[in-house]
């Protein structure tokens, strides 16, 4: 059966079937809904549905239309999605790009790719790209602001047997050409003056770096506390990038499980840092990026225990 989705208070509509998830239908029709893992893990695609009938993977009716995982939901009628501030002005499309820089810092590669002069590239800070290598897709956050020079920086952690990271480590070199879809995701900075708590683990620093660059660019005076966690001190990379953010109203906490340099690093977990330093986040916005477990822990901690408005919790979950 075919249905239609309408995004409330906008002109955007897209077609649905009962056999393709609402999220996949949107993406295939160029509707840039927020999402992360597409597997039901990260919660990045959660949204409220104002009206309509939804079913899950097993064909059962979904009773609650609040916080619906669109990647796991299918339409059983026309539906209306409630996504405040939805912006589809930047179109998602495929690009080719050439690797122009490939530096490796321990287990993290800093890869810069450049799209040809024949193309323009627009994205919002915090968004990601989806690389297609031999038919397999992998998502990586844009770690910089690429709109002007068409150079996109990606931070890629090496995983043993990781499909794409192995290619980066073993096959790709400067000059290699890759294909990707972009821009994706809605992990973007809200236009408020609320203080910011930014929490990331591993290469979750990438979109956070993009957000911080954006704040520098616009001369933001918002207070921001960046909490960045890694397993070991050596896992930190691009620490020199942080120098520039001294111009911001920035507080920095670097957390590692194994700490030797206690003057620079804390041995606390990122959640422990939050618990130790905050008792009320009611006027904050929280941006979390990294592994799904960390994100769930922070979501629970901040919204359940520290009074964070759940609408002010933004995340980008890495699988």
């Amino acid at each position: 059966m075919s249905y239609q989705a309408h995004i409330k208070d906008t002109e955007y509509k897209f077609n649905l079937t009962d056999s393709v998830s609402i999220l996949e239908s949107a993406i295939s029709q160029g509707i840039n809904l927020p999402y992360g893992c597409r597997n039901g893990d990260c919660g990045g695609c959660k949204c409220n549905v104002s009206s309509g009938v939804l079913i899950d993977n097993d064909g059962h009716t979904i009773e609650s239309l609040t916080d619906v995982l669109l990647c796991q939901s299918f339409a059983n009628s026309d539906i209306v999605l409630d996504i405040p501030g939805f912006d589809n002005s930047i179109k998602i499309r495929n690009y080719l790009a050439k690797i122009i820089k490939l530096d490796k810092h321990n287990n993290t590669a800093i890869m810069q790719i450049q799209i040809p002069n024949t193309q323009t590239f627009n994205h919002l800070p915090g968004q990601f790209i989806e690389i297609n290598a031999a038919g397999v897709t992998r998502s990586y956050s844009i770690a910089n602001i690429a709109n002007d020079n068409k150079i996109i920086e990606l931070h890629i952690r090496h995983y043993l047997n990781g499909f794409f990271s192995s290619k980066v480590w073993n096959d790709y070199k400067v000059g290699s050409v890759i294909k990707f879809k972009a821009p994706l995701g809605n992990f973007t900075l809200q236009s408020t003056q609320n203080p910011l708590l930014m929490v990331c683990t591993g290469t979750g620093f990438a979109p956070i770096n993009s957000l911080l660059q954006h704040m520098l660019q616009i001369g933001s005076t918002r207070s921001v506390h960046l909490i960045w966690g890694n397993y070991e001190e050596d896992d930190f990379y691009c620490l020199d990038y942080l120098e520039q953010y001294k111009k911001l109203n920035l507080k920095l906490s670097l957390c590692a499980n194994k700490v030797q340099d206690a003057t620079t690093f804390s041995s606390l977990l990122v959640t422990q840092v939050i618990s130790q330093e905050y008792n009320d986040l009611s006027n904050y916005e929280v941006y979390a990026c990294g592994n799904p477990n960390m994100i769930n822990d922070i979501r629970n901690l901040t919204t359940n225990e520290l009074n964070l408005n759940k609408n002010n919790f933004f995340c980008d979950s890495f699988n």
Binding site: N94, Y95, L96, A97, T118, Q119, V177
Partner: protein
């Protein structure tokens, strides 16, 4: 999508080329990507065609499909993604059939044949449009720019666009019954060269010249086809004001369509008008004999939105240049041959019945407008027959200079340059013109020199062939090279037929050609430098400055 094949391409934001959802011509990104993929597949098919040609294995079906399919990718020809997809699948099907023919021949004749191994030879199109578009990304100009650089991509474009123009002329010649064998085999060779994705700039320069040669063959074939079938054009007064009655307007270049339509409208009470590049058809004896070919309506292609809206009858677009049909006339617009637009009826197999019915259902002109005429029909046969008078006029000093002012008209005021230039030409000079750029000045009265009209309309853009024959004849009469003649070429380009003609002129060694209005976006600074240094090509500036330069 990335497309920079025409003069009207996007030129801002630091990017030369259309790269958004819709190109400046109205072509969607989907159609543009499919056209890239089609051309890629054609390079594979042509690679086999070159082998088949070497062993004289029949391939006329391949020749016909390749010429029409390449033509469909020319600017303002086919906007219909379904038609482009159909061409693509036909090309791959014929490629496999031709490969089998070659293998069968090798087997039967006990011949060892090396088959080409370029990637496009084994390309398999995906099943869905979405997947096809994905495939297009990896073989298009973005990929070429990233891998080989902007200069190589630009020269690839130069060669490819020249091939497009030459294929269009070859297709016109084919439809008019011409012998296309030489041109089509040269074009297969050029397409097979593109399949190699060379990264050597000199290779592209060499092949650009070969495409110029191929286009000369194509224009020669077309000229022969037209003159054999319709007779040599003769000086003709063409009515440019409407006549009362039902009406059909025929635009584009394919004169054979006009002939068929004239045959099918005999006794129907319908007047047939030419439009745009079809104007020169009025000068062919075999077409002039139809009394219901009453004249020409309108001007150059880019005015069609207004002119078709005002035309109270049916309209046929036989070739480029189609632009987005408007509500006012889309119900009475028809396409033929390689032309297409989704939802616009397409004439197949030369049966114009639907078009004729649409004309009969339309109001037609209710009254005669006051008579107005222009004079056309000065193709090579007529002009060369005047050669003695012309030579005498030059020797006596009555004619001091010849200018060829013509080519494709553009849709912007930049094209005013050509009208301004023509009007500024001194009274002791003769202007040869062709293509639709002439509409910038062809209603003006330029007078004559000793009975020789000062403006000689040689015909369609492909009648550049006529201009070349006249130049060669004059050079022979004056015992000099063409470059030593008091002749200046001032050429306007818009689409790829003009690229092909430019390559022909360069191949023939003509120098100091003024070219505009805007230079091609695919001509990078390095390519431009090459064109200016090696071929002495001159970008136009202002009519005053350029004219003064020619007079020194």
């Amino acid at each position: 999508m990335f497309c920079y094949q025409c003069e009207g391409t996007q030129r801002n934001d630091g990017i030369l080329g259309c790269n958004t959802l819709v190109g400046n011509c109205g072509k969607t990104a989907e159609t543009a990507d499919l056209q890239d993929l089609l051309l890629y597949a054609i390079t594979g098919l042509s690679s086999y065609a070159t082998v088949a040609n070497k062993y004289q294995i029949s391939k006329s079906d391949v020749d016909h499909l390749v010429m029409e399919a390449v033509f469909s990718t020319l600017t303002n020809v086919n906007f219909d993604p379904k038609r482009i997809e159909d061409y693509l699948r036909d090309v791959v099907k014929l490629r496999e059939e031709l490969k089998q023919k070659i293998l069968d021949f090798a087997s039967k004749s006990n011949t060892v044949i090396d088959l080409p191994t370029y990637p496009s030879v084994t390309f398999k199109p995906a099943n869905s449009i979405g997947e096809l578009i994905d495939q297009a990304l990896e073989i298009g100009f973005d990929a070429r720019t990233l891998i080989a650089g902007e200069d190589i991509a630009g020269m690839y474009g130069f060669v490819l666009y020249g091939i497009k123009g030459a294929a269009a002329y070859t297709n016109h010649a084919l439809l008019s019954g011409g012998n296309i064998e030489s041109a089509v085999n040269q074009l297969h060779d050029a397409l097979a060269f593109l399949a190699q994705e060379s990264t050597n700039l000199n290779d592209y320069i060499d092949w650009a010249m070969k495409v110029g040669a191929a286009n000369y063959s194509a224009m020669e074939s077309l000229d022969s086809a037209h003159t054999n079938k319709f007779g040599h054009p003769e000086p003709t007064q063409v009515r440019i004001s409407n006549v009362a009655g039902k009406a059909i307007l025929v635009s584009g270049h394919d004169i054979h369509d006009l002939e068929k339509l004239l045959q099918q409208t005999v006794g129907k009470g319908i007047n047939v008008y030419t439009h745009g590049e079809m104007l020169p058809a009025n000068a062919y004896p075999e077409l002039k004999k139809y009394p219901h070919l009453v004249g020409n309506f309108g001007g150059a292609w880019h005015k069609q939105k207004v002119e078709f809206s005002r035309f109270p009858g049916a309209v046929l677009m036989t070739s480029n240049c189609l632009i987005e049909p408007q509500v006012a006339y889309k119900e009475r617009l028809f396409t033929a041959n390689a032309v297409g637009w989704s939802g616009i009826p397409h004439i197949k197999d030369g049966d114009y019945t639907p078009l004729i019915e649409a004309a009969l259902n339309a109001p037609g002109f209710t009254s005669d407008a006051p008579e107005k005429f222009i004079t056309i029909g000065f193709a090579h046969n007529t002009v060369i027959s005047l050669a003695d008078d012309v030579v005498a006029a030059v020797k006596s000093g009555a004619i001091k200079h010849f200018y060829l002012v013509g080519g494709c008209d553009v849709s912007t005021p930049d094209g005013d340059y050509y009208g301004d230039f023509a009007r500024m030409v001194p009274k002791d000079s003769v202007i040869l013109t062709l293509g639709c750029a002439k509409y910038r000045f062809n209603r003006d009265d330029f007078g004559d020199i000793n009975g020789i009209p000062r403006v000689l309309d040689m015909g369609q853009c492909n009648d550049a062939y006529s201009a070349i024959q006249v130049a060669l004849t004059l050079a022979k009469a004056f015992d000099c090279s063409v470059n030593e003649l008091p002749l200046t070429l001032v050429v306007s380009w818009f689409e790829q037929k003009a690229v092909a003609i430019m390559l022909t002129l360069l191949y023939l060694g003509l120098e100091n050609i003024y070219w505009g209005p805007k230079l091609p976006a695919f001509a990078t600074p390095n390519i431009l430098q090459l064109l200016e240094s090696r071929f002495k090509l001159i970008p136009i500036s202002t009519a005053e400055k350029d004219l003064a330069r020619t007079l020194h």
